[in-house]
């Protein structure tokens, strides 16, 4: 897990999922996206832990949505990536690219 200024792997994946889901980014959808697109089947509390950390660093923000019948009358929390969050994502990507360039390996084209 990352500490300080650099997002760890799960945090990056969560950030990317939130970005990808746009307006529809809340707990359930983020979790499913992570599992289906990212190959990481984590439990809801873990997702929320990551999101809380991201929020405490100011990289995402959250807001409460309406409770619905399908949720047994419970509210949902929507998430949005903040500009700072986009910035650290880009940075992280850039760092990895630099490291990949220096390494004698080709990224696997088949990988998801």
């Amino acid at each position: 897990m990352g500490r300080g200024d650099h997002p760890g792997e799960l945090e990056q994946m969560v950030l990317l999922s939130v970005l990808a889901l746009g307006d529809d980014a809340y707990g359930m959808t983020i979790r499913r996206h992570l599992a289906e697109e990212g190959g990481r089947d984590v439990t809801p509390p873990t997702v929320y832990s990551a999101l809380d950390r991201l929020e405490s660093k100011g990289w995402v923000s959250s807001s409460l949505g309406e409770p619905t019948a399908e949720r047994g009358g419970r509210a949902k929390r929507y998430f949005r990536v903040e500009p700072d969050g986009v910035a650290v994502l880009r940075e992280a990507r850039a760092r990895m690219d630099r490291l990949w360039q220096g390494a004698p390996l080709e990224p696997d084209p088949e990988a998801p």
Binding site: T43, P44, Y48, D52, S56, G72, R74, K76
Partner: protein, 877 residues
Amino acid sequence: MLERLLAALLPERDRDPVLGDLAEERRARVGEGASEAEARRWYRRQLLRSLLPALWARIRRRHDRASTDERTWNGTTREGDGMLIDRTRDVRFALRTLRRNPGFAAAALLTLGLGIGAVTTVFTVVEDILLRPLPFPDSERLVRLWQQRDGMQFWVSAPNYRDWREGAASFEALGAYSPDGMNVLGAAGPERLEGAEVTASFFPTLGVEPVVGRGFTEAEEAEGAPVVVISYGLWQRQYGGEGDALGATLTLDGRSHEIVGVLPPEGALPTDAEFWTPIRWDMADWRQRRGIGWVLVVGRVAPDVAPETARTDLQGVATTLREAYPDENRGMGIHMEGLAESMVGEVRTPLLVLLAGVLLVLVVACINVAGLLLARGAARRREVAVRAALGGGRRRLLAQFLTESAVLSALGGALGALVAVGGVALFVALAPADTPRLGDVAVDGTALAVAAGVGLLTTLLFGLTPALHWVRDGSSPTAGLRSEAGAGGRDLGGRRALVGAQFALAFVLAVGAGLLGKSYWGLTRVDPGFEAEGVLVVGLPVVESWFESTADRRAYLERIVAGVEGLAGVEEAGLTNAVPFRDAGPTFSYGLRGVSDDEDLLARYRVVTPRYFRTLEIPIVEGRTFSAEETAGAGGPVVIVDQVFAREHFGEGRALGREVHLLDEWRRVVGVVGEVRDRSLAGDPDRHVFVSVGQGSRQSMRLVVQGRGDAAALLPEIRRVVRELNPRQPLADAGPLTDWVSGSVAQERFTLGLLSFFGGAALLLAALGIYGLLSYSIARRTPEIGVRMALGASGAEVRAMVLREGVVLAVLGTAVGALLALGGARYLSSLLFGVPPDDPTVFATVGVTLAAAALLAAWMSARRATRVSPSTALRSE
């Protein structure tokens, strides 16, 4: 349900979102084609999987909040919740460290587990036997009262008891009981049950309430009514615990008794009694005599009355009775002792000695574990230094080390609790059967609390030392990063002191064991005055209603003896009313010509058949044994005395023909037999007077049989002979006499055994301590050794260097230990027989043994030192 549990674990803010997400996704899955069952399964799995992360999230949430607060509050650091997450991490780290060092973990945990387990075992025993109050209400107010004369305690006579009851104002209640076994015809044949005759006031005095039915009324006591109260155990065994036991009949000694009550499981006195009948004051003439004591008295002191007041009160009563009955109550006082004390007083000192011993072993064990931690710590100096350099903070490091010790102690404590369960069971199985309240000893919550408490103490004991030491070291980070050569000094000195202390404690324990051992050995070599080897003892409790006259009874007993004598494997057989070491037997007063009545002359009173002395190989020093005529009840009244008696009253060789006044008759001395110890090997032999069965009072008799070979093997034959003569005759408490004699020192043997074990364990641990210390010291000095060897030092010289270190340590430790032992051995004096607490032989032997052990350990360590190759040593720099 799982949902509620998850909800409880989740941080508040996440509760709704998480549970809502799960519910929504479950429905979504059904919508996407999964079956209801599949979706439900997925749901439940997610719930389960989320439990731990939820807890973790909660902890993180509190920690993060604290950290955030830390940043926003100026200057004040809130450590509160943040500690929790660090603590958890510390525990996990400590556990991981233990897993990675299985050798160290095993050694430390084993040592701790055994040490804590042993302490818990002994403490449980001490608490259950000594500290726990008797199972009667307000048991501190319960006392026993004895008739006292010449510093000895005697049973109380009926008239005295009644007068005490009337006159003792400071007592709320007095009760009396007379232990008496009776024969009962069980399904398997005649059986003997232990019980007692009791007054109506007996149960109320103790505060025992029957669980079913009632006790006795005064009327029933007055008429000696045929009613009985039975024990809880008997009720369960014979009557299945059914209510219809009340009113059923129990036939005791041929007499039918109606069951009127059942006592609770704790019972009453005597501790092994299964039935209680009303005391029959009128059953025999002698029961009414003031001069014959046959009951035991218990009393309940009135509330708010101090013991001293009660004693003074009793003194007044005794004085009045002495003046009113100057003959029977001559010199009689009343001795009062606490009931609990009377039951456990004898084992108090041995048990406390054992507790002290086991605590010493624990301290020695803890020092060993501390040594193990220090040794391992040396290997981690770099790690510690790096962490300190990276800003670990002294307090954090200290916390980490304490956590490690705490984890070790917790695991050790848990192991110790398990050891204690086995240890208590072992103790109960091996302890002498007559240890008071042995049945009350059991592992319970207290024991577990003790294990936990001791575990905590050991953490402080061995945890702080290494921790403080490291942290002090780490305050200069570069110190740890530098090489270790020459850094011997400080911590080595501390360890030396600890190992020295181990030696001192081991010395103390070994001296204790040695003193007890010498004392025990002396005891077993005492000549009791008779030969117990090959002798079988069998109780012959008869029912008086079987006989029409005393002569009838005598003839019956003689037939039994004759029948037994006729058996092939029997050398000799005889009867007596009390067998040495098995029965206390009666003590009667006697008179002598020319000696005034004011003298208090008491002797042990024995009724025997003529061949009794031959059976036990008691030598007839002068005169003869009883004749057939005297045995049949004819001839002039005669008596046989022992040497103690003869020497004291008549002088050597001048006893025959003299007269003794016993049982209202003047009897002629016709024989003198050798002195006999019949209570304890440690004490002096008592005076004995012997009368023939034909001329003595009616007594309950025991058969003693000297066999050709193994006496115990004769028992089936004896049973057969007796059954042929009388199928209703039970044989009570049959066993080899040697059992009784060795049983008299069973407690000393047991205490000695345990203390020797502790001493041995401490010695082993101390030797391991020296070995560990020297190995550690060698490891630290490896470069130095390498240099020396490269410069030409021989293996022998290096060995000598190491040996010297070990020897100096052992000598110092032994010296300190000797001083401690001299001081402490005083407390053992009451347990010692013929051995002074500062016995030089014992001290010298222990000193030599310890020195040898130390040398061995040092030598083994030194050998390893010489195997160091100089080049490797220098390279490790």
